[in-house]
Symmetry: C2
Subunit: 93 residues, 2 copies
């Protein structure tokens, strides 16, 4: 019923679903640095922990804490640095 997705050798895992908000994934990332590409607009909300984020085309890393959201454009990418295990919700549009 719900797909489990794994990235970066299982250091990022997510569950996909769909409801009135649209297409959604919730996931967790291990401590580390990652870069993700986008094929849709992504609304990323930290749900536990903290993320340092650099969105493609920007020059400044920004830090997002619990229930803070950043938006990444379609066909773009973003880098994250995590000091601890961190969970997120991603809503696609």
């Amino acid at each position: 019923m719900f797909n489990v997705n794994e990235y970066f050798d299982g250091t990022v895992k997510s569950l996909g679903f769909e409801n009135k908000a649209g297409q959604v994934t919730i996931g967790v990332m291990a401590k580390g640095e990652y870069e993700f590409g986008t094929s849709m607009v992504e609304h990323m909300t930290v749900t536990s922990g903290e993320m340092k984020v650099l969105i493609k085309g920007e020059t400044e890393w920004k830090t997002y804490g619990e229930y803070e959201t950043f938006r990444v454009e379609k066909d773009s990418s973003f880098k994250v640095i995590l000091e601890d295990q961190t969970s997120y919700k991603c809503v696609y549009s």
Copy 2:
């Protein structure tokens, strides 16, 4: 690295992790009715969708929406009714 847990024939799936918040799971539930027992205090936060909740010993169902939290005592239980796929975060203490 992250355990995937399945309950009720896969209609509830969760991912477990740990950070400064403590022991945490994030998960998603299909539309339906469920009852969960607790072996620790659980702080349940809806992260997408809506949950109707009846905590053991209470008489009134309450509805929790996005980023709203309810607390369930240790060695207790709670019932949820979901009209749509709904995600949550659970922090144990």
